[in-house]
Amino acid sequence: MPFPIASSIGEFFDAYFSSGWAWTLTVVLHATFILVVFGLTPFLWIWAERKIAGRIQDRLGPTRVGGRFGWLQSLADGLKLIQKEDLVPKAADSMLFRMAPYVVCVASFAAFLFLPFSDGWVAVVSDIALYVLVAILSLEVIGIILAGWSSGSKWSLFGGMREAAQMVSYEIPLALCAIIPVTIAGTLNLSDISRLQSGWFLNWFLFHDPFTFITFFVYFTVATASCKRAPFDLAEAESELVGGFHTEYSGMRWSFFFMGEYASMYVVSAVAALLFLGGWNSGIGPLDAFLIDLRTAEGSAFAGYLANLLGMVILMSKAWLLLFVQVWVRWTFPRLRIDQVMTTCLKYLIPMACVLFLGVVLWPMLMYGTSKGTRTTHPFLEPRGEILGLHAAATPGETAVAHARAPANEEAE
């Protein structure tokens, strides 16, 4: 089947239904799970952002809805937004105006399909998951531009223009920074990249060499900008453009933009965690070894589930920590001007990303030599060949044959 899924739930349904129905039910169950994560992330983080913003500004934030801490504030907001009138301005191009929020929402939801939640917990297994993710994230901008253009309002048009200029520029350093851990790992498969970082936290690609350490911060800056979060929220810019691209929107259509925004904030944070911060690995050597043992334990499917659940909790905590930083930054720094945003990207971030890329490529040569015959591998990356299904070649002449043997039939069981 083209869309493989976690085998256990599929096997569970197989016992009760015919294989076609079991497969369909499994797909529906997994899709529902992803939809729930996609829906709950904005739900939780809109409340958290209001709370954090309140504390940063020496206020309390929401306090009443749902008893303590106002934790049901997002539900109240949602109910309010559903009841609001769905307005389309007279000057708007009504079809595009109605479609734009869906484009944003669908684009950021589609990114969840390729995002691993834990070892093996990924909706679509792909050995180029990172590439597909970057491709899908570049779709979101179309919805924003369409929203800005079709509203028939100057503020919206300005917002859309700024978003287009910003996104077209920031995609370049984003892709360059994402390539850097890929050059170390030798794969675009996000699950494999995370698997390579198990063990103590020094195995994380963040601590692989000085270049990756800086890359993480460059990536995070660029990712914040690509989610159009402050200080890069030029497309909205409440104090200049009323609401930017969403000035004319109301009700649910307006809220779709925010679901998309918070979901893609989660996606870029989770990708940062997977690429640099060890993914679902805890960073504590013995604990990771225990979790891997638990995952591969024979006989008990429950142990595997428990291990994956713990992995998901670890990955989500890392992603949420980064989300917290994004919120923290938003309420701390003032907004940049559009020319400053472009200068930051074109004059600083892109050259930095290029230099870092070169540095990461040259680092192994400097550290471990380039002598022929003996291929010195990085001590942290010993399990790399095993995980990627490649065999270490003894002599350079055999490399081609060894590579040739690699991809097929090794994992036949």
Binding site: A129, A135, L146, A164
Partner: protein
């Protein structure tokens, strides 16, 4: 009918509707939107074929790149609020004629091929559809490694069973590098043509006159 067949029909229909709508619509930005629908559906068809790399490239280049630039260009250059394009009857006639001829050609070609024999010929005697039992590389998401390997030089898909010391097939590293250098030349040329022209100020005794 399996789920894949259903999805194939849905996305195939969406691709066709999008393509027809691009031709029929007169509003330029709506055309761009229908192009997104059409190209996105084609990308979905590639995903259904387990061609993840082609699908992602389709999205990143056509949908995420070209169309964003298209809409951006329209927003920068449009004179009125909603730019319209109208074709003259002659253009419509010419376009329709060429389109019908192309359709006849494509349908004729597709109909003339024995597809199951062709797929056996391409994939070898042990061809197995990806929905088969047991391990299949495509089902594990391993869809891109042969292309990546071929672009780097080694051809695991051809050299797999060969005895040691035999001649290995060549990959596509050389054409790949030539294409990338061509693209670099195009980039530099575009930057040269688009750069701001500074007036050369003549400084010297003859400029005073």
């Amino acid at each position: 009918m399996t789920l894949e067949t259903l999805l194939f029909y849905i996305f195939g229909l969406a691709a066709c509707i999008g393509a027809v709508a691009v031709v029929v619509t007169q509003n330029v930005v709506r055309m761009a939107f229908w192009l997104i629908v059409s190209l996105g559906s084609v990308a979905a068809l590639y995903f259904l074929l387990d061609a993840d790399f082609v699908a992602a490239t389709q999205i990143i280049i056509y949908v995420g790149g070209t169309l964003v630039l298209l809409i951006f260009g329209i927003m920068l250059t449009a004179s009125g609020p909603y730019q319209k394009i109208k074709s003259s009857p002659g253009e419509v006639f010419m376009g329709a004629g060429i389109g019908v001829l192309l359709l006849v050609l494509l349908v004729g070609t597709v109909g003339a091929i024995d597809w199951s024999a062709a797929s056996r010929a391409v994939a070898g005697p042990d061809f197995r559809p990806t929905t088969g039992e047991g391990y299949n590389p495509a089902g594990q998401g391993n869809t891109t490694r042969p292309i990546g390997m071929a672009l780097l030089g080694p051809r695991p898909d051809k050299d797999l069973g060969k005895p040691e010391g035999s001649k290995l097939s060549s990959g596509y590293l050389f054409p790949f590098e030539i294409v990338s250098i061509h693209l670099l030349v195009v980039l530099i040329g575009a930057a040269y043509l688009a750069r701001a022209k500074r007036r050369v100020q003549k400084v010297g005794p003859d400029s005073r006159e």
